[in-house]
Subunit: 247 residues, 2 copies
DNA sequence: GCCCTTCGTTGATCCAGATCAGCGACGTCC
DNA sequence: GGACGTCGCTGATCTGGATCAACGAAGGGC
C-alpha cells in the first residue's frame, strides 16, 4: 500500500451517502465485482470512479443512447425494462445493491433503466473499465461470470413468461425475493418489496389486477402476510415453493 | 453435459460431413469464434477438437448434467429448452451453423439441447478451452461478446413472451428467421423453417393450433407462401415488419 | 400397394386472465 | 382540515388464445 491512510479528505465533511463509496467501507464491496480485486487494484479503480444519486422514478439509462458509463449499484432498487411503441412494457429484471449495471461490450443498451427507490451508483467510464479488463484477466472473468448468471436467470424467466400460470408466476416472484435474502432453512422469511404492483405485473407479464388478486389469495391461504406498504412476510415458504412449480 | 452415444456406422464408409471439419475448409470458420484466431492458434485448437453427428430428435445436453464439453455447430438446427415437471416446455433459443453451444463458466447447464435436424458439432473439452481462453484474451473477449449478444436476444424475447399478441409473436418469429438470412434490401426472402409447428409454439409461448391459424392468416394476407414442407417465402417483408410491432 | 403413425389445418367451445369500473386507504399540498 | 392524486383491492364482464375434436396429407415400413 503506497497511499497514506491519513490523506486529508474534504469529502469527510459531507454527510452524503456518497461517503460510503470509499472502497474500504463500501457496503457492497464483497458482493460486487470489486471482490476479485486486490487492494492496489481497488485503489486504481476507485480513482476512476464517481458516485451519483437518483431519485425514485428517475431514468438512469435511455434506450439506444450510447452508453459511456457502467456502474455498481451501491444501494436501492432499479428496474430494467423494454417498451413497445404503444407503451406496453416488459421489465426484464431488477437490480439491487451489489449488482452490476451495464453491458460491457455492446456499444448500445437497448433497454431502459429506472430508479424504483432512491438509488446510489458507483460509476465507471466504460472505456477505462475495459482497459482494466485487458490488464486484469480476473476482472474480465468475473464480469463474464456475471453475464452468464444474468443470462441463466433470463432463460428461467422466459419459461415463466411463456408457460407458467398466474399463480405460479406470482409465487415465483416471491421466491425470487426470498432467494435474495438467503435463509433457506427457515419456513418464514421477511422480504422487502420496493416495487409497485404495476411493476410486478410488468415483470410477470400480467396485469396489476391479476397480481393483486393472486397476492390476496396467497394471504387467504396463509402463505403471506403484509407488514406495512412495502414489507411482506412469507409465513409458509414450503407452500410457496409448491405453488411456484419449481424448475 | 453428456454427449449422447449414437451411430455404430464405421465412419470411413460414409461421405462423412465430419471431413469438412478441417479448419481450412470449415464452412463456419468465419462465423464461429474461430474467426478471431490466427492460423497457428487454429491449428492448436483443431488438435483438441473432435466432431460428432446427431440425428433429429436426439438429446445433446441433459439438464443439470455436469457439462464437460462445449461445441461449435457445424451444421443443422438445435433447440435449447427448459421443462416444467408436468411437461410444459419453453424453447429458449435455436442454434444454427456457426453458433456456439455451451455455457463457458457455469459448471451446470440448466437447459436441454436437442437436435431438430441432423446436426454436426465440433466439440472441445471445456477445461482445455478455458486454458486457451486464459492464454488468448481475444478468444475470451469473443466468447464474452457472444454471451452478451445471446443475453440481448433473450431480453428481446422476454418482451415478446410477456407482452406481444399471437399475431405479433408469429410475425416476430419469421422476422427472426429472415434476419438470419440477411438480404435486408429485398421485400421477398426465402427462409428455411426446419422446426415443427409444436416447436414454434413452444418458442413463442403459444399452442400449435394458434401458430397454425396465424400462419394461415399470414398466407391469406399474402405475406407468406409456403414452398414444400420446410420452406417459406416471405413475399411482403414490409407487411411482416408492420405486424411484428418492432421494438 | 396398404396400414399406421405423425404432422398440420380447421372448427367448436371454454376459460384464465384482461378489461372496465368503483371504492377505500393513504399522503401530501395548501 | 379539506381537496386531490395515487395506489391497491375487489367485483362484473369480456375476449384472445387454449382446449377439445375431427380430418386430410405426407411419409415409412413391409
Amino acid at each position: 500500500m503506497r497511499m497514506n491512510e491519513m490523506t486529508a479528505e474534504p469529502e469527510c465533511l459531507r454527510l452524503t451517502p456518497a461517503r460510503a463509496s470509499r472502497c474500504a467501507v463500501c457496503g457492497v464491496r464483497e458482493a460486487a465485482f470489486c471482490a476479485v480485486l486486490s487492494t492496489s487494484e481497488l485503489q486504481q479503480l476507485h480513482a476512476m470512479s464517481s458516485q451519483k444519486l437518483f431519485e425514485p422514478g428517475e431514468l438512469i439509462v435511455e434506450e439506444d443512447a450510447a452508453v459511456r458509463q457502467v456502474a455498481n449499484v451501491l444501494g436501492g432498487t432499479i428496474k430494467l425494462f423494454k417498451l413497445l411503441p404503444d407503451g406496453r412494457q416488459q421489465i426484464t429484471g431488477f437490480l439491487f445493491a451489489g449488482d452490476f449495471l451495464g453491458p460491457m461490450l455492446s456499444g448500445e443498451y437497448a433497454t431502459f433503466a429506472e430508479a424504483v427507490t432512491q438509488v446510489e451508483l458507483c460509476l465507471f467510464d466504460q472505456d477505462r473499465l475495459r482497459e482494466r479488463m485487458d490488464a486484469w484477466p480476473h476482472l474480465e472473468r468475473r464480469l463474464f461470470e456475471d453475464a452468464t448468471a444474468t443470462l441463466d436467470r433470463a432463460l428461467d424467466w422466459m419459461l415463466l413468461l411463456g408457460r407458467k400460470t398466474a399463480t405460479e408466476r406470482v409465487a415465483s416472484f416471491f421466491l425470487m425475493l426470498t432467494d435474495r435474502v438467503g435463509e433457506a432453512s427457515s419456513n418464514r422469511v421477511m422480504v422487502e418489496v420496493p416495487m409497485s404492483r404495476a411493476d410486478i405485473a410488468d415483470y410477470l407479464g400480467l396485469t396489476m389486477e391479476t397480481v393483486s388478486r393472486q397476492i390476496s389469495q396467497l394471504k387467504r391461504q396463509a402463505i403471506l402476510t403484509s407488514h406495512g406498504a412495502h414489507g411482506v412476510e412469507v409465513i409458509d415458504l414450503r407452500g410457496l415453493r409448491r405453488l411456484g412449480g419449481s424448475d
